[in-house]
């Protein structure tokens, strides 16, 4: 596989984007992603917000347990967490805990589907909410998600997820107002995908 990946990577570099249609598409990206049954990662995030003098920074951990649980725990600059479990969202901020139904807020639902669809490699789910575009190859790919729903598009312009093999490595979020955030992801359990692979 390594050898094949190397060849594909080289070919991509040489043949430029014209060659990307050569079989590497959403189905293959999601097939790669679907190999992860669970995982943990550290993230750092930089947000550029119009009207603020400085960018905002945040750092923390991400965790995912298939099929529908994931948590984002922010440790810097403030302790916060967001945990999605099925249709429920659990928010902890400033020592307070709030729970809400995800599908009651369609925009929230769409974003959570984006994360969930990506984490579980569910192509159909992603296609139902977003127009998708895939660039790159198995070794290094970029998945761009543009909301189909007009209401969500008023909030979120696009999401750009890049990955190496079966690992998500960054998520770039462009908001409609021009603000954007870039999250870099560093997997904490690199063995997880290989353990799950034989399945």
């Amino acid at each position: 596989m390594r050898r094949a990946d190397f060849i594909v990577t080289m070919a991509t570099c040489v043949l430029l984007p014209a060659a990307r249609a050569q079989g590497f598409d959403l189905t293959q990206v999601t097939a790669l992603l679907a190999r992860n049954r669970s995982g943990q990662a550290r993230f750092t995030e930089e947000r550029i917000v119009g009207g603020l003098d400085l960018p905002l920074h945040a750092a923390g951990t991400l965790s995912f347990i298939a099929p529908d649980r994931f948590t984002r725990t922010t440790t810097e600059p403030r302790a916060e967490s967001m945990e999605v479990q099925g249709n429920q969202l659990l928010l902890k901020r400033g020592g307070r805990t709030r729970q809400m139904a995800v599908d009651a807020i369609p925009e929230l639902m769409a974003l959570i589907e984006a994360v969930r669809g990506t984490l579980t490699g569910n192509a159909a789910l992603l296609r139902s909410v977003f127009n998708t575009r895939v660039e790159g190859n198995a070794a290094r790919w970029t998945l761009t998600l543009v909301p189909r729903d007009a209401k969500l598009a008023q909030q979120v312009r696009e999401l750009k997820i890049t990955g190496l093999h079966s690992d998500m490595r960054s998520v770039e979020l462009w908001l409609a107002g021009g603000d954007r955030s870039v999250m870099s992801i560093e997997p904490l359990q690199p063995l997880a995908s290989q353990q799950a692979a034989p399945r």
Partner: protein, 798 residues
């Protein structure tokens, strides 16, 4: 004779006239209140007030099915729009968030009075840095889009803080911008929730609102879409319609049956007309008595009144038949004491109902006692004046009497098999164990599909499904709000507990919208003047991404808030928050207040037991924890227990009466034997058919004892009167025929209500119809025989 006759008739006519006068001015109600308990304890009182007068009584759930999601959403919007314009509704909600715009600006305007984060520490440099930091942590995320426009006026995120507390734990799913069903495997629906302006008890207004909804939906002309409705107003209107329908056919068929029996008895129209008089008198007197005792008459009582026809007509039959042979004076000597004893035993039975916990049953008791007494009094005092020689015409009495005689001769052979059946029934009853069911909903006249639709709509809307409530009550509004605030703090503690979820997912409280004045003043007092605030801001924002110069609107807003009038109940209503207020805050008729704090269970879990909640709430007076499901069960169990005791007392009263009349242990035993067997066999038959017994079956059994004792007494008297007078030729056909007729009318009238679609009536009807027939058969089978039952078979026709 003449003056006595005139006096009797005049007195009767005058009383009847008074009854009619009272009845004309009586209100008839037909809701389900008859089966809500009359004297609840304080916790149950809250529940019942909610059911009767609270928001749920005005809330309708609507579902639009068919078509695709876009068509349903369009229909939902159009229907909501039209219903809002109708002015019949205080609120029409379909999940369209546009409706919340004005409420959002109300919260924003009052953020420094409503935000739980406001305190003196919040406006120090450190507090401001923390507050601003928390707000900034959302910027650059999709959630930040909403707060960015108000960042400069609300950098510490008070609006967000208020909003965050108001996010419901469970909310309907939103599709195409409107509420939609969640449950898979069912027809997809768009959902709406309406709250009428009219009170829940005003069924006419509720009906008008329902009709309006249907009309507006029809004019939408949305092909392929159908509308479904549910909710307490619909249940009320439907129950009323059902009860009215039942009364109509029961009274028509009941009257028809009575005429048929009278025809059977006399074959004479005149006799038929006269025999109807005690019935009419009894019914009118019954309604009047209920109206005087309760102020209004429940329609269910009227439906039950048809059974009174069956009882009261017996008196007429007894008199008209027996006075023909013996004359009025003779009847007064021999017939009246039997009728009087029968009356007294029946009254004992029905009087027990008066002490039951349900107004519905109390009304039945009062109605029946008054009705029977009036019918008997009419028979005793007016009948002899009207028809001094009884009624002419024999009808089919001869045949009926002969048939009875044959049956009586033959039935004692069944003594052993019947005894064996009785034992079998007793064994079955003991073996089944779970004979009694404590479930209030068993009394609801509504069809199961209707309740199922309601449950599924409620699940979709997450409406009214709180199983546990904390209730804060107080003599005035402020005291109530302060208690609710204390409870709310404790409940927040439960929600924030632990690493993952808390012990509860959250709770609702009116104090999030309407803090007590004390708390609002406290918050105002914590707001700093402009200068110190600017100084603290400069310090707090130094080196951060948000410069203090941009926050002038914040300083202004805080200054305004320092002199702002506190949020009041009226202000909330004016802002369109009436329904929110009414869902969480009630004023009792005595002027005191009740705040409801419904709890949401944690995900995949349930709310902690009441004891734990009480522990968490300890230290504040006027708080109660109510678990609705177990509370209702407990309530019904309590009434079942009460009813069992009362029925037992009623039965004992009947037996005492019999004992007092007979004054002979052996005879009392002989009378009780068939009664006990009748009760056992009735219960056994019901159990064999899988019927679970409730309070109404119990009431029915008591009536079986009360009515059935008459038959047993009859056979006893036959035997012993013969002894006294040394006649020994057994009963004549007329007497036997009148007994058969009396039983037929009872079985028929209770059998009729056994067919009723109202479960409460059907339960009583089944038990009494079946039980009284069994009582007669058993009384005949176990009739004490004198020297080998030759008198019964050898008696000549009179």
């Amino acid at each position: 004779m003449k003056p006595r006759k005139a006096i009797a008739l005049l007195a009767w006519a005058a009383l009847l006239g008074l009854c009619v006068l009272r009845i004309v001015r009586t209100t008839f109600i037909a809701d389900l209140s008859a089966f809500l308990p009359a004297d609840p304890d304080p916790q149950q009182r809250v529940l019942i007030e909610q059911l009767q007068a609270g928001l749920p009584a005005r809330t309708m759930l609507l579902a639009i099915e068919g078509g695709d999601a876009a068509a349903r959403a369009a229909a939902s919007r159009a229907l909501a729009q039209r219903l809002r314009e109708s002015q019949l509704f205080e609120q029409v909600n379909n999940g369209d968030s546009a409706a919340w715009g004005s409420i959002g600006s109300f919260l924003f305007e009052h953020r420094y009075l409503l935000s739980p984060a406001v305190n003196a520490e919040r406006y120090t440099a450190a507090g401001l840095r923390d507050g601003i930091g928390e707000t900034l942590s959302l910027l650059g995320t999709p959630a930040g889009n909403a707060i960015k426009p108000i960042l400069e006026a609300d950098p510490t995120g008070e609006t967000l803080r208020i909003g965050e507390a108001l996010i419901p734990v469970a909310a309907p799913r939103s599709v195409e911008g409107v509420w939609a069903s969640r449950a898979s495997g069912q027809a997809e629906r768009a959902l709406l929730l309406t709250i009428t302006r009219a009170a829940g008890a005003d069924l006419d207004a509720q009906q008008a609102a329902l009709v309006r909804i249907e009309q507006e939906f029809a004019t939408l002309q949305a092909p392929g879409l159908t509308l479904k409705m549910s909710g307490a107003p619909l249940f009320g209107v439907q129950s009323r319609a059902l009860i009215e329908r039942e009364i109509q056919w029961l009274s028509v068929v009941g009257t028809g049956l009575m005429c048929a029996f009278l025809w059977l008895a006399f074959g004479s129209l005149r006799a038929l007309a006269v025999a109807a008089l005690p019935v009419v008198t009894g019914v009118l007197a019954g309604i009047t008595a209920v109206s005087l005792a309760f102020g209004s008459v429940h329609a269910m009582t009227l439906a039950f009144g048809t059974t009174l026809i069956g009882e009261a007509v017996d008196y007429a039959i007894y008199y008209l038949i027996q006075a023909r042979a013996a004359g009025a004076a003779g009847w007064l000597r021999h017939g009246w004491p039997t009728v009087r004893l029968g009356l007294l035993t029946s009254v004992c039975g029905f009087a027990a109902l008066v002490f039951s916990g349900f107004p519905g049953l109390q009304q039945l008791g009062v109605f029946s006692v008054a009705g029977l007494v009036a019918a008997a009094m009419f028979t005793r005092f007016v009948m002899p004046e009207l028809m001094p020689h009884g009624a002419a015409g024999r009808g089919l009495r001869q045949a009926l009497g002969s048939a009875m005689r044959a049956a009586i001769g033959w039935l004692p052979r069944l003594k052993l098999p019947l005894l064996a059946l009785g034992v079998a029934a007793a064994v079955l009853l003991v073996a089944r164990g779970d004979l009694w069911r404590a479930e209030l909903s068993a009394l609801s006249p509504l069809p199961k599909e209707m309740l199922a639709l309601d449950a599924s709509l409620r699940a979709d809307l997450s409406a009214g499904d709180a199983k546990t409530l904390v209730v804060a009550s107080g003599a005035d509004l402020q005291a109530t709000l302060q208690r609710a605030e204390a409870a709310s703090r404790a409940l927040d503690g439960l929600a924030d507990q632990g690493q993952g979820q808390g012990r509860i997912a959250g709770h609702d409280s009116i104090t999030r919208w309407l803090p007590s004045e004390a708390v609002q003043r406290e918050r105002q007092a914590a707001l700093p003047a402009a200068e110190p605030l600017r100084a603290a801001l400069a310090q707090a924002t130094a080196g951060g991404p948000l410069r203090a110069e941009r926050l002038a609107p914040f300083v202004d807003a805080v200054q305004r808030a320092r002199g702002q009038a506190p949020v009041t109940l009226d202000a909330l209503r004016a802002a369109g928050l009436g329904p929110v207020v009414d869902a969480l805050l009630l004023q009792r008729p005595d002027g005191s207040w009740v705040a409801l704090l419904p709890l949401s269970p944690p995900l995949n879990g349930s709310v902690p037991p009441a004891a734990e909640l009480r522990g968490a709430l300890a230290g504040t007076d006027g708080l109660q924890v109510i678990e609705i499901g177990s509370e209702l069960t407990r309530l019904y169990e309590r009434y079942l227990g009460q009813a069992q005791l009362q029925s037992l007392l009623g039965a004992v009263a009947v037996l005492v009466l019999i004992a007092l009349t007979l004054r002979n242990g052996r005879r009392v035993l002989a009378v009780c034997q068939p009664l006990l067997l009748a009760v056992l066999l009735t219960m056994g038959l019901l159990a064999a058919f899988g019927v679970q017994l409730g309070i109404l079956h119990l009431v029915g059994l008591l009536l079986v004892v009360a009515v059935g004792s008459n038959y047993a007494l009859f056979f006893d008297m036959l035997l012993h009167e013969g002894d006294d007078q040394g006649e020994g030729d057994g009963p004549d056909s007329d007497t036997l025929a009148s007994l058969a007729l009396a039983n037929l009318t009872t079985v028929a009238s209770f059998g009729l209500i056994a067919l009723s679609a109202l479960p409460a009536l059907a339960a009583i009807g089944t038990v009494v119809g079946l039980g009284s027939l069994l009582a007669l058969v058993l009384a005949a089978a176990f009739a004490p025989t004198r020297r080998r039952r030759e008198p019964l078979s050898a008696a000549p026709a009179a």
